[in-house]
């Protein structure tokens, strides 16, 4: 890794003047738009990116009425002036001719793709009439919502107005849920969506299956590269030599599903060799003696047997981390919906971190600085849902938060109409067919629903099976309530439209309000402008500032309180870092992480793994030509060279995967020794069924068709990586 600072630019000082001009030109064009003359000239508007969920601040440059270019807001702590490939391709998405351009109502069978064009009045009236009938027959709890994206609160509020508890944010069960449950059990709070690892100041970081370079959240990767450039050591364990591995000082190819064994072995080695921070352990943790006794069973010989990683490599990793401690971290991971035992894996990771005393320390974990802003509400809601949730979140799975729910369990509850009828399904910005393991269950849930409404910008596979499609304006065409974000400082981010909607679309808030009113509810929705004024005032800023700067950064707080002698507080039952978790013990599960092996594929099978590439997000971006051109419209599948040779598959061959039930579309074999022989890997988000996504329809694999549908017993989150497939040459 490069060891020089080679730090940042002075070149852009010259641009401050041009930024100051923005406000003025913006006003001029807005005025001319009101007169409906063709807009002429350039202007700039503020926004936050919606191409993934990191929410990078951006400025949109519009030339003669057309959005020309997006660039990062220089001072926004999410991304400090940068945008990734996805962010840059937002312009293509805005003008993509395959967007849903007007409301649509289904005319054929569900999944036939037969729709008719409708007006907004028709579509809203249709939804309201059906919804009223469902509510009157089955009660307010008979609605479900699956939502993801910065506009998700619009439909969440609609559900609250109706009085349904069944609001689901799939980002919990399908992504970070198991991780956050483990962190709550150990440290008393979740990791959070912007992982507070201080890569910038770290001396040694260890990532376990966290492919930071390709998961690519701009702020995260900036700090990652910055830390490496300052000489930080990177230890990386994964089943695949990804682009993150390219940056690693120590790469360990690990047998899929054995991560917990590796971490338990490390805990044992660190304790046995006194490499831990005894002062931190004494002051701030409980259960160390029990942990030491428990972990002593995990010898390095055993680790090697389970993981395939040599004893010397594990020793080296432990020594590197211990040498750097407390300026080191072991990353908690992000999408921990892997093997159905993920809570215990992250528990082990949490414990190993605690042993190095890196809490609230530079180079370890920082405490996100809140902006301490009292946020207003868009809608005042007096009555709250009286029914229990249908998915078991907070009940059968007590550690799953009721405000996020369990998407996997909710879809099953709807499919089986158990424990009670859930007949009206609303979907905002998410795609059940691609995130729920086993699409046959999604189909069953849709069949069991009397009304399925999707609000999205594209005809996704889920929209394709819906009764009504409500086309949303993209983030570049709408206002949204400003948001408050916490990293090393707290900040407010602002979204305003760059242009009027290109098509007959509306923003989520406007749509939610229309449906609410049409159903006869009298709840007042604030305008976004009203909401923003209140929020800006509470934050100590104003609209003018936000229109010029896009992002308001409150004074920096104190992200490393322990470094200045402050005692950390842990909101666990004991008030300490719980190496032995009382919460998990209360639920009847292992209070200390144990290792349970995962099912192994048969000799002719591969474990089906999927993940991100740097330039696509989930199943949302695969119709974007600018991004498709980056990989020549090909969907790769990584296959180990020895295994491929036995099957007669050569690099570049066209193959398909099958699990007996489903067959994928065409994939291009990437044959080398960079992936574990047990597994194959393909990027998520391809294999679309919808005819509305013509560019990549049927190409690649819809990953949900091939992964497992296991459940982590503690979090209720899904385990997707125990699916087994065979590969066939085309």
């Amino acid at each position: 890794m490069i060891k020089t600072g080679l730090s940042r630019r002075r070149f852009l000082q010259a641009t401050t003047a041009s930024v100051a001009l923005l406000g003025l030109s913006s006003l001029q064009v807005k005025a001319s738009e009101e007169e409906k003359s063709a807009p002429v000239g350039e202007y700039y508007t503020q926004n936050l990116c919606e191409m993934c969920f990191w929410k990078c601040g951006l400025v949109a440059k519009t030339v003669n009425g057309k959005v020309h270019k997006l660039e990062g807001q220089k001072h926004c702590p999410s991304n400090f002036g940068k945008l990734c490939a996805k962010g840059n391709s937002g312009v293509f998405q805005l003008y993509d001719t395959d967007r849903v351009k007007f409301p649509m109502i289904r005319t054929g069978e569900r999944g036939s793709g037969e729709f008719r064009k409708a007006t907004w009045e028709e579509a809203v009236a249709y939804i309201a009439e059906k919804s009223i009938s469902i509510r009157d027959k089955f009660g307010p709890e008979s609605f479900s919502l699956f939502a993801h994206g910065s506009g998700e609160h619009s439909f969440m509020n609609l559900m609250e107005v109706i009085g349904s508890p069944n609001i689901v944010i799939p980002a919990f069960s399908q992504c970070t849920g198991s991780r956050d449950v483990a962190w709550v059990a150990t440290y008393g709070k979740p990791v959070g969506g912007k992982e507070p690892v201080d890569s910038d100041n770290t001396k040694c970081m260890m990532l376990i299956g966290r492919n930071a370079a390709e998961a690519l959240h701009v702020g995260e990767v900036q700090e990652f590269v910055s830390g490496l450039s300052k000489g930080a050591e990177l230890i990386y364990a994964d089943v695949r030599f990804s682009k993150t591995a390219a940056k690693a000082n120590q790469f360990m190819m690990i047998r899929p599903g054995s991560d917990t064994a590796l971490v338990l072995g490390m805990i044992n080695y660190v304790i046995q060799n006194n490499l831990y921070d005894a002062s931190f352990v004494d002051s701030y943790t409980t259960g160390f003696d029990k942990l030491a006794k428990h972990s002593s069973q995990y010898s390095l010989e055993w680790v090697e047997l389970e993981t395939g990683i040599s004893e010397s490599a594990v020793v080296k990793a432990c020594e590197s981390l211990a040498k750097a401690a407390p300026h080191c971290y072991i990353h908690p991971g992000r999408r921990l919906s892997r093997y159905g035992n993920d809570v215990q894996l992250v528990r082990a990771i949490a414990i190993l971190n605690a042993l190095f005393g890196n809490w609230d320390m530079p180079g370890g974990f920082y405490t996100p600085v809140g902006a301490n802003i009292k946020k207003p509400h868009m809608v005042e809601i007096e009555h709250h849902a009286s029914h229990e949730r249908a998915d078991g979140a907070g009940i059968k799975y007590p550690m799953a938060p009721k405000n996020l729910g369990l998407a996997n369990k909710m879809i099953e509850a709807i499919a089986n109409q158990d424990p009670y009828p859930v007949k009206g399904m609303f979907i905002y910005g998410t795609n059940l067919f691609h995130h729920k393991a086993d699409s046959s269950i999604v189909k069953k849930a849709i069949t069991a629903s009397e009304l399925v409404v999707t609000c999205d910008i594209y005809m996704t596979d889920t929209a394709y099976y819906s009764d009504v499609i409500l086309p949303e304006s993209t983030y570049l065409e709408r206002y949204d309530p400003a948001i408050v974000t916490s990293r090393k400082s707290g900040y407010v981010q602002f979204r305003e439209p760059a242009i009027d909607p290109v098509h007959d679309t509306k923003g989520g808030w406007e749509i939610a309000e229309l449906i609410s009113k049409a159903m006869g509810y009298e709840n007042e929705f604030k305008t976004i402008k009203e909401f923003n004024s209140l929020l800006f005032e509470a934050a100590g800023t104003n609209e003018e500032y936000m229109k010029t700067n896009g992002c308001y950064v409150k004074e920096a707080g104190e992200p490393f309180p322990r470094a200045t002698g402050k005692k950390p507080r842990f909101y666990t039952p004991s008030g300490k870092v719980e190496l032995v978790s009382s919460k998990i013990a209360d639920l009847g599960y292992d209070e200390l992480p144990t290792y349970t092996g995962v099912p192994r594929p048969a000799d002719d099978e591969f474990r089906f793994l999927f993940g991100r590439t740097s330039y696509h997000t989930h199943a949302r971006s695969q119709n974007n030509s600018w991004l498709l051109a980056l990989h020549k419209h090909e969907v790769p599948i990584w296959i180990n060279a020895e295994r491929a040779e036995k099957l007669g598959i050569k690099d570049g061959d066209i193959v398909k995967v099958t699990n007996g039930k489903n067959m994928s579309g065409e994939l291009v074999a990437k044959v080398d020794n960079l992936i574990h022989p047990e597994a194959i890997f393909t990027p998520q988000g391809f294999g679309h069924e919808s005819t509305g996504l013509p560019r990549m329809r049927g190409k690649g694999a819809r990953t949900s068709d091939f992964c497992s549908n296991d459940t982590d017993p503690i979090s209720g989150g899904v385990g997707l990586h125990n699916g087994f497939v065979q590969i066939v040459k085309v």
Partner: protein, 187 residues
Amino acid sequence: MNKKYAMAYVVDRCIDCKACMVACKAEWEVPEDHFRTHIDQGMKEDFHGKTRMDFLPSQCNHCDDAPCVTVCPTKASHKRDDGIVYVNRNRCVGCKYCIPSCPYEARFFNHDLGVAEKCTFCLPRLAEGLEPACATTCPGNVRVFGDINDPTSEISMVLREAKNNRLKIYKLREDLGTKPNIYYIQN
């Protein structure tokens, strides 16, 4: 002294995210499936037999002795005083000689406009006081752009610092005598 624009890549900072490629595409409305810059991926084994993966950004090298300028029959391709190799679209007749002449494969034919196309170091952005789009967007801060005739420019300082730290500084295919102006800095 005239300005001499150049770019340095701090190669080890690159994660092959391809943001540069798309930013450039957006800024210049580069035709579908073409790019003015790209990133090559290299795999090799190091001295210890370990796998190494390198990412090498690439674009027009704005050569001092540019083959594309030499072969251009209409002088559409020319070397400007500020070091930028530029294609004057009004003079380009679309003969395509320049395309195979470039050892860096930096050019392609724009079928919509009937002209040869390549990186301009974002000349119109420079006039506005902006950096090239690729450098502006690069999340890894790989790309350092500026005037190498100005010792106080960032690129001059970065190259000096790299030299003082005995990092490897090289350019592509210097053996061809094209005198390229893209500097690669690597540990």
